[in-house]
């Protein structure tokens, strides 16, 4: 083995290295981020042209902010996102605690049901929800959007919370109970503080999933309500404008920030045991 080391240079020696893989990775990154970066760049272009750079300008952003339709859509999106993520996070906390550790009959079935929104193709969920609301007589508007969003936000909130809970050893609960805390107080004083990064991470993820949703929202919104993705889609139908670039870049920025924060928060205090 030592003779091997002396006669071959380090690069060739690395048995794990494959030529071209590094290039492919960079190509992949460019592919993933290219369109996003391009659209962001053009959102700052003073003039409408693709070919000519007119100078840095926030005009399109101003226009987007002033647009009443966009404003209404943004507010609706925010209301729905905050409500749906709050509701689904609470439900997910309860469910994650119930599913913790112990095997009980039907545990796998429960997990399937909770994951169902992730399994069913979104278009099918969308039309099924529409048919359901119409049949039951629920009016299509903010309410129906909120209901539909609450459903698919649950698994997204559940996964980070459940994962965090798995890392919390059972002896913390036991110690709290041993020291005269009843079930509820053991939760508020010990379990919840320890699982909080997971809760926060789940909440943020649910929030952004709700904010970004298009397909399901498109079908259950009805004529009255509009969310940001819906408004953008409507604008795109009539032709790509720089205003769309601006709104898109904004929304992208928000999304990326939230997702990154959610990830970082989830990794906070990663080790909960000595």
């Amino acid at each position: 083995m030592s003779m091997f080391r002396r006669t071959f240079p380090r690069k060739a020696r690395d048995l794990r290295r494959y030529p071209g893989f590094r290039a492919m990775t960079w190509a992949c990154m460019i592919f993933l981020y290219g369109p996003i970066i391009v659209i962001a760049i053009y959102s700052f272009n003073e003039i409408r042209s693709i070919t000519v750079w007119g100078g840095f300008s926030l005009d399109w952003y101003v226009m987007a902010f002033k647009d009443e339709l966009i404003q209404r859509a943004a507010i609706t999106s925010l209301i729905v996102a905050v409500s749906a993520s709050t509701i689904s996070t609470c439900f997910a906390i309860a469910a994650a605690i119930a599913m913790r550790r112990r095997m009980f009959r039907g545990r796998e079935g429960v997990f399937v049901i909770i994951s169902l929104p992730l399994i069913v193709p979104e278009i099918i969920s969308a039309v099924a929800s529409l048919a359901f609301f119409v049949l039951v007589g629920i009016p299509l508007g903010i309410g129906s959007i909120l209901l539909a969003h609450s459903v698919f936000c649950i698994p997204f909130a559940y996964l980070p919370i459940s994962s965090r809970l798995d890392g919390i050893e059972p002896y913390f609960d036991e110690a709290a109970r041993d020291l005269y805390a009843n079930g509820w107080r053991a939760f508020t004083h010990v379990l919840f503080p320890l699982m909080f990064p997971g809760v926060l991470s789940g909440f943020m993820l649910a929030f952004i999933i709700s904010l970004d949703d298009f397909i399901i929202t498109n079908f259950v919104a009805g004529p009255g309500a509009t969310t940001l993705p819906l408004a953008i889609y409507g604008l795109v139908r009539t032709g790509l404008t720089p205003e769309i670039n601006a709104i898109s870049t904004l929304l992208l920025g928000v999304s990326i920030t939230f997702v990154t924060l959610s990830y970082l928060v989830g990794r906070m205090q990663a080790r909960v045991s000595p």
């Binding site: 048995l15 494959y18 893989f21 590094r22 492919m24 990775t25 190509a27 992949c28 990154m29 592919f31 993933l32 981020y33 290219g34 369109p35 996003i36 391009v38 659209i39 693709i50 070919t51 609470c90 439900f91 997910a92 309860a94 469910a95 119930a98 009980f104 429960v110 049901i113 909770i114 994951s115 169902l116 992730l118 399994i119 069913v120 193709p121 278009i123 099918i124 969920s125 969308a126 039309v127 099924a128 929800s129 048919a131 359901f132 119409v134 459903v151 649950i154 559940y158 993820l205 999933i209 904010l211 079908f219 993705p229 953008i232 790509l240 992208l252 999304s255 990326i256 997702v259 990830y263």
Partner: protein
């Protein structure tokens, strides 16, 4: 020592265990009820609808008929009312299937080297790379598709740059073709090919590679015979995570297909919007759902320990 007959539990234990079960059920109720009421029930409604008659202005009339499914395969001749085998809708399903397979393959060709590269980086770099790969996925699919459309359309920056560079004289027509849809699908779901493969390679024991090389195998033979087969679980998981959403995709074919390259998702959507044939849309949805379920069951059986991570 195992004991077949167990003594009766004391009352206090029975009471406590019952209370525990009640608590667990209460904690699970909100989530389960919500999902059952607003997803499971609607799915059953769609199932029923697929056997009903379409109403004049949309909706359904409660008359049972298998027409929706028949319409899928056959057309009624307007003259003699006989059924003629039609490939219109089958074609859509077929093309969707092919699109999904092709984009899955491309995702694999791009995704596997990427996943491998990332997994073999030093630890601190790894997390950064993983974050970079993950973030685009979670970020608004609609907007990412719009961005892709913006980029590749005839008047878009890509074509302009290529023309400016002199590489081509006329714009490459990608947008609004099925190539565009394909690119859109790959763009949408690539991260989900990368992540499961990354997870598998991360756990891979590279001493096996050393053993193979020691036995005179070259790089590519090692890849083909050792690494790929042992990474099969991750590859299969990633492929599923790309294939299934691609099959039911709506946004990519809608924005990038230009109304001509309909996939299953568009077909279904159409029935509930313009065409107003809810039973037919339901039938189409049910067929898609069946394909998805069959694929999943097949996958689950393949795993002895069914750990299904999905979109």
């Amino acid at each position: 020592m195992a004991d077949v007959v167990q003594p009766a539990l004391p009352e206090s234990t029975k009471r406590r265990e019952r209370a525990q079960r009640l608590l667990r059920a209460t904690l699970l109720m909100p989530s389960l009820l919500t999902i059952t009421a607003f997803l499971v029930a609607p799915l059953f409604i769609i199932l029923v609808y697929s056997f009903l008659t379409p109403g004049t202005y949309g909706g359904v009339i409660w008359e049972f008929t298998p027409n929706a499914y028949i319409q899928f395969l056959f057309e009624r001749d307007i003259f003699d009312d006989s059924l003629v085998f039609s490939t219109a809708y089958l074609g859509i399903y077929g093309r969707s299937f092919i699109q999904a397979v092709v984009s899955t393959s491309i995702c694999f060709l791009i995704g596997f080297p990427t996943a491998y590269f990332i997994a073999t980086r030093p630890v601190r770099q790894k997390n950064m790379w993983v974050l970079l790969v993950t973030v685009p996925y979670w970020v608004n699919l609609l907007i990412r598709t719009i961005a892709m459309l913006f980029l590749i359309r005839d008047e878009g920056p890509l074509n302009h740059t290529l023309i400016w560079l002199g590489a081509i004289s006329d714009p490459i027509h990608i947008a609004y073709t099925y190539y565009g849809v394909g690119i859109g699908l790959v763009y949408s779901y690539l991260p989900f090919m990368i992540l499961p493969i990354y997870a598998t390679i991360e756990r891979f024991d590279f001493r096996l590679v050393e053993a193979a090389r020691d036995l005179y195998a070259d790089r590519w033979t090692t890849m083909w015979r050792i690494i790929l087969p042992l990474c099969r679980p991750g590859i299969v998981a990633g492929s599923l995570l790309v294939f299934i959403p691609s099959l039911g995709s709506f946004i990519a074919p809608d924005l990038l297909g230009g109304g001509k390259n309909l996939m299953i998702g568009n077909l279904i959507a159409l029935q509930f919007q313009g065409s107003r044939n809810w039973p037919f849309g339901s039938a189409a949805a049910m067929i898609l759902m069946t394909v998805v379920l069959v694929t999943l069951v097949f996958y689950a059986r393949q795993q002895s320990r069914a750990k299904v991570r999905l979109h």
